[in-house]
Each structure stands twice: as C-alpha cells, then as structure tokens.
Amino acid sequence: MKNLIQKLRNFNINSRPHSFALTKLKQIDSDISDLFTYILDDYETIFIGENSLALMLASPIECVHIFHFFDKSGSLINVHETKSSDFHFKLLITKYISGGSKFGSFTHHIRYSNIIMIQYKKLLDEVSFQHRGYTGYRNNLNSGFSYVHGNFVECIFLKIKKIN
C-alpha cells in the first residue's frame, strides 16, 4: 500500500502538462512544437521540419512554416515564415533570420490555407500535429552536419498566437 501511495504521489509530481495518457482523453486544438536550439558563433545550424499534413496524406501540400526565435534569455526576437510544399523543409538559420542573435532557441509550427483546412476538416479534427524535427550543427563547412532529433519540452502555439 505504501508503495502504491508513493507511486501515485510520484505520478502526480512527475506528470507532464500534456501527458501521453491525457492526449487520449483531450483534443488539443493547436499544433505542438519541441523547443530547438541554434548556435551561429563559429557554427552553422540547419533545421529540417516536417510538413505534417502532406506526410499524412502522402501528397505534397503547400503550407507556411512558422519559426519563433528566442534569444539566450528566452525573449522572442524574431518570427520567420516560409512557404513550401515539400514533405520536409530545410532552413539554414542565419543571423538575419535569428534577429542577430548568435545562440538561443526556436520553435516550428505550420499553417495551412483556409481552403486546405476546410477540405481536410474531418481528418484534421481527429489529430493534432506535433513538430519534433531535426537540428544539424557543424563548425566546418567542409564537414557534414551532426543531427539530433527534437527532444526538449513541448511548446503550444495557441490560436491567439501566444507561445506557452
């Protein structure tokens, strides 16, 4: 019994704000991004993001990739948007894109046109997308990128355009 109480207490303390179990019970009306990091001080950072609906339908569909860039103190410094219909979108992060910051973090979200949203409404009502993505780093242009997949805390892009 003591063990059970301990486990229940741990579960409560250790629960994430949006646990896997809760996703079965509660629909999230937004898309979720991992938090990624960039470093431009003698390094290049590249990000590979997914066009989630295109991947789900196995067919190219145009979307707007939206990136929110934060500086080392976590303040929002720039928003970058690009259109693409590729399954995977590649963004080489520059100081221009990061708002001049040499290192910090960013999120990735996607937006589809109203026509697409209406066309696939039934499907989109059933799922929420999450953006895990892949970030590559290198400090030698002649070398390859060392990639890591998204792993950090999830961020939610609410309809009121506020990052949580």
Binding site: H18, K24, A58, R132, G144, Y147, E154
Partner: protein, 267 residues
C-alpha cells in the same frame, strides 16, 4: 514497457558500442537508487531460427556495462540482442522465444529506459540514446520512414540507413523480406535490399541531392538509424522519429492513416 538493446556490424570499419548504466535515466531525483541486473547477449545466425547465448555480463562493481561489436565477431548485418535480466535469472544457452527484458522503470517518468549507443570510425564518433521496445518485438508489422537525416550533406559524405529488426516470437523458418528506397514524389523504387528477421538491413546511400526519399518494408517493422560519415574525421548518428511522433493526440490512428496512405501508393 521494457526494452531490448542491440549491437551490430555495419561494415566500413565502423564500430558499434553500447553503454548501459545501473541508474535509470530520467528518474525522479528522490529515487536515486541503482537497479540490480545483468545482461544476456544473444545472436541468431542468418539461416537459423534459434537464439544462441554468446555472453552474460554483470556490472562487477562498476556503474556501467560497456559492450562492443568487435568483441563478438559479428558478421556484416548480424545483430547481437542484449537482454537486461534479473541477477537470479538463469539464462539458457539456446531459446526459441527470446526472454522478455527486465523493466528498469522506478517511477512514472514517460521517457523510455535507454542506453547510450555509440558508433565510431577512426577518430570520429557519435552517439544517441536508444532502445528496441519489447512490445515492438512481438509484432511483424510494417516499416516506413523518410530521409531528413540525409539533408544538406556534402557530396563527399556517405550515409548508411540501417533497419534494426528484432522479432522475439518463435520462428518456423527464416523468410526473406525486402527493404525499399523510393522517391517520395514519383514513388519509383530506387533500390531494394533483402533481409531476414533479427538482422540489421544496411543500405549504403550516395548523395541524392535534394530528392525526397522514403524507405519502407511491407514485411516487418523496425527502427531506422542513419549514420553519415566520411573517411576521416566526421561521423553523425541519429534515429528517425517513428511516424506516430508526427501526432500529438491520437498517435496510433494518425500513424495508421499515414502508413496506409504511403504503403498503398508505394509498389
């Protein structure tokens, strides 16, 4: 959930090492206790359906168990499956059905009990945190992944896509399966490679510019690992997210729809 681990020989003088800790990662700080376990190392020969024990290793008063592919003279694409087990458990020399791995969870942390999986070539090495879930090893399934980890590499860099397949149910014979690499837009197959259960299917890929690629098998599931390397000082390794990770809620249904849409189109 409990997890198997693996070692394999991917060729080109790339050495695979695995490091298992007696402390569960991602645990609560209040539960800072070690887990008592040992590991059994089992292989299945290419045309054999029996698992054969090749090693049994404990911690021997250290905090880590470190195993290396070169210790076991693995053939190209051969897997050694590592099974965390109770100290008291007798591990047989041969099995038809591989024993379940010991769960090392000590709290409700949602992150899997992983090991550090290293690949090194010459002076270059890279690692990722990985595992092969026991649950996955009980199903035949199907496999689909994409090429994001191959993007924007120089033409001098080579990439290996490695499909790790572990199936622990009893086999009556070793069937031949096919892993395909196709153009994601035209769905045209670019290359195919045969593999069997309980092996690593290795696909060597040259630069494909910005062509979008997909990898699939309609025969079995598996975990994709991408190793990019040059002949000298560079190596990068990472595994792809499974398609279920594209979805925040309704992961299982989302993955089913996605895989159905792709696998019904692909030849």
């Amino acid at each position: 959930m409990s997890e198997y681990f693996f070692l394999t020989n991917v060729g080109n003088e790339i050495i695979n090492t695995i490091n298992l800790s007696k402390f569960t990662s991602n645990r609560l700080s209040s539960l800072n206790k070690e887990i008592r376990f040992k590991v059994g190392v089992y292989i299945q020969k290419h045309d054999d359906i029996k698992w054969q024990k090749i090693d049994e290793v404990g911690f021997n008063n250290t905090n880590n168990i470190k195993l290396c592919s070169t210790d076991y003279r693995l053939a190209l694409g051969q897997l050694a499956v590592i099974i965390p087990s109770n100290i008291e458990m007798v591990l047989n020399d041969f099995y038809d059905v591989l024993p379940s791995p010991l769960s090392r969870k000590i709290d409700f942390s949602p992150v899997a009990e992983r090991a550090a999986i290293y690949f090194e070539k010459g002076k270059a090495f890279s690692s990722y945190q990985g595992e092969f879930p026991h649950q996955m090893s009980c199903f035949k399934g199907s496999f689909l992944t994409f090429d994001p980890l191959m993007k924007s590499q120089n033409s001098s860099i080579k990439t290996k896509m490695i499909l790790i397949n572990i199936h622990t149910k009893k086999l009556n014979k070793k069937e031949i399966f096919t892993l395909n690499m196709a153009n994601s837009l035209s769905n045209k197959i670019i290359l195919s490679k045969d593999y069997v259960h309980n092996s690593a299917c290795i696909v060597d890929i040259q630069s494909f510019n910005d062509e979008e690629l997909c990898f699939y098998s309609k025969d079995t599931l598996g975990i994709p690992i991408f190793i990019s390397y040059d002949e000298d000082r560079y190596l990068s390794v990472e595994h792809n997210h499974p398609p279920s990770e594209y979805f925040y809620n309704n992961k299982i249904d989302g993955q089913k729809i996605l895989k159905h849409n792709w696998l019904s189109k692909l030849p």
